[in-house]
């Protein structure tokens, strides 16, 4: 257990619509402002009172640029989590740490992306930091690099390829109930999945996350203050970030290789929160690619390589009746992709009882960060009674 367990909570969520990439009506910074103000409205907090700003990866709408438009009284804390999509929920952990240490009181954690304000999103997220060893050999995209990992998971570890299809079908199934989901009109039956074009084997089109313009934000404050605000708090029970020895920027020399690189953070999260895989009611699993979502489930101990085919089935993973409903808004694949930030808001909605695919009486809500990243994080949120 750490001092941070339950010390802070998410009390407001805000999000713009998901726009087709490069088609948002507003520039990126305006999208960020809209999401932040929406999150403040949801929490019943004046945007002027936000005194901490935290984001991750290639976010460049920093506090300095936002504060004039928010009427910020004083910025007391600002930070960017290193790395890529692996940075959330670690960003929540930084917020909780700053609050517990008295550095700030009301922190927004946010991410905004608009291709028209930057460049092709899938290039931008790589931060121009891809080693020559990849580019010289025709490898550029996360889709290709993560394909290498998942090919090994299937061929050498024996995890059935069917698990990738299930992860995609579950996401698209949940998206159909979500009016805001970008992929809500796609019926992903076996034929549609199987006939979709290859991107990088073993990934077909529907194994890959989307790229959307949009912004998403959550407000984090102390547990003591959270109890007096408008919305039911989602307490941050544990949200560790990090990498075990054998991981890091090792250009396909990481050991272990084929999963999500989340064994270390998952182990610490279970220890810090006092809960285990069997206790989780609902999970938002960051999926840059389906195979890495499968890897995240393995690393978190929901199943093993040996029984992955039995656990990762459509019936087990859908709300409201599955053993572990995952990606209940449609997730990165079927709802939309703002670098995974939309998963945080859905994890909170589940605890409030506001999801379009609500899991009855959900108390423990998991949100895993970008899998296969050089460093990553994972987070468990809970209601008051889980503290």
């Amino acid at each position: 257990m750490t001092k941070l367990r339950g010390a802070a909570a998410i009390v407001g969520i805000g999000q713009t619509p998901y726009y087709k990439r490069a088609s948002a009506p507003d520039p990126e910074i305006k999208l960020a402002l809209r999401a932040i103000v929406a999150a403040c409205d949801d929490a019943g907090i004046n945007p002027r009172d936000v005194d901490g700003f935290i984001s991750y990866a290639s976010e460049r709408n920093d506090a300095q640029k936002l504060m004039p438009a928010l009427g910020t009284r004083e910025v007391k804390f600002a930070a960017l989590t290193w790395i890529h999509g692996g940075g959330i929920p670690g960003a929540l952990s930084i917020a909780a740490s700053a609050i517990a240490a008295g550095q700030a009181e009301t922190i927004v954690v946010y991410r905004a992306m608009a291709e028209s304000s930057t460049q092709r999103l899938r290039v931008m997220v790589a931060q121009d930091d891809t080693a020559a060893q990849y580019l010289v050999n025709g490898l550029e995209s996360p889709a290709q690099i993560l394909a290498l990992r998942s090919q090994r998971m299937i061929e050498a570890d024996g995890v059935p390829a069917s698990t990738l299809k299930v992860m995609a079908q579950v996401a698209y199934y949940h998206a159909r109930n979500n009016p805001g989901a970008y992929g809500r009109n796609t019926v992903l039956d076996d034929e549609t999945y199987d006939n979709a074009r290859w991107i990088s084997e073993p990934f077909r089109l529907f194994d890959c996350s989307r790229e959307n313009d949009g912004a998403s934000a959550v407000i984090v404050t102390s547990a003591a203050r959270a109890r007096h605000l408008a919305k039911k708090p989602a307490y941050i029970l544990s949200a560790p970030m990090g990498t075990l020895a054998g991981g890091g920027a090792l250009e396909e020399n990481i050991r272990p290789y084929s999963r999500a690189g989340q064994l270390g953070v998952a182990t610490r999260m279970w220890a810090e929160s006092g809960y285990g895989p069997k206790d989780v009611d609902v999970a938002q699993i960051y999926q840059n690619m389906t195979g890495l979502g499968v890897g995240a489930l393995l690393d978190h101990g929901f199943c093993t390589a040996e029984n992955a085919g039995e656990f990762i089935t459509f019936d087990n993973l859908i709300a409201p009746t599955g053993k572990l409903p995952v990606n209940t808004s449609g997730g990165d694949l079927a709802e939309g992709f703002i670098h995974g930030m939309g998963l945080v808001t859905e994890a909170v909605r589940q605890l409030r009882g506001d999801s379009v695919n609500q899991v009855p009486n959900a108390k423990l809500s998991l949100m895993t960060g970008g899998p296969g990243d050089t460093m990553t994080s994972t987070g468990l949120l809970g209601t008051e009674e889980t503290l």
Partner: protein, 144 residues
């Protein structure tokens, strides 16, 4: 020597592998290990995390190994557009037993028959070209 790769330097990753590329331009397949404890350090870095040594030695090795994993790319992604004419192409990650299992990437050339994890492969060093962004490269062939 004027190295082609140095004139077209890609900045990304750790960037301690100049001698790997120089080796390939001299038609040698070299990997790095710590001068003190002899631990193989791959990808190359500036300090040995095992013993703390700062000196690396670059050892020429026979380009032989087995396929650790692979993918077949069906799309010419933004930053590797030079390969559009080759789509679909296979990239392999090769495990090098002579370097304690260090893994090196490369394009699979020749027959794809027998393409699977564990298949023995042999490397062939190629001069810099547009497709390899003016870097030298090592391609791999399955040993039938």
């Amino acid at each position: 020597m004027d190295y082609s790769y140095a004139k077209h330097k890609i900045n990304g990753g750790i960037g301690a592998d100049d001698q790997f590329w120089q080796g390939l331009e001299h038609n040698e397949f070299r990997l790095s290990r710590c001068n003190s404890c002899k631990n193989w350090t791959w990808p190359a870095h500036y300090r040995c995390g095992n013993c703390g040594g700062w000196e690396m030695e670059w050892v020429a090795l026979p380009p032989e190994g087995t396929i650790y994993t692979w993918t077949r790319s069906w799309y010419a992604f933004d930053r590797v557009k030079e390969r559009a004419v080759d789509v679909p192409y296979v990239t392999v990650v090769v495990e090098i037993p002579a370097a304690a299992g260090a893994r090196v990437m490369g394009i699979l050339e020749g027959s794809e028959q027998g393409l699977k994890i564990g298949a023995p492969v042999r490397g062939l060093i190629k001069p810099p070209s547009e497709k390899t962004k003016h870097y030298p490269s090592i391609v791999w062939q399955i040993q039938q």
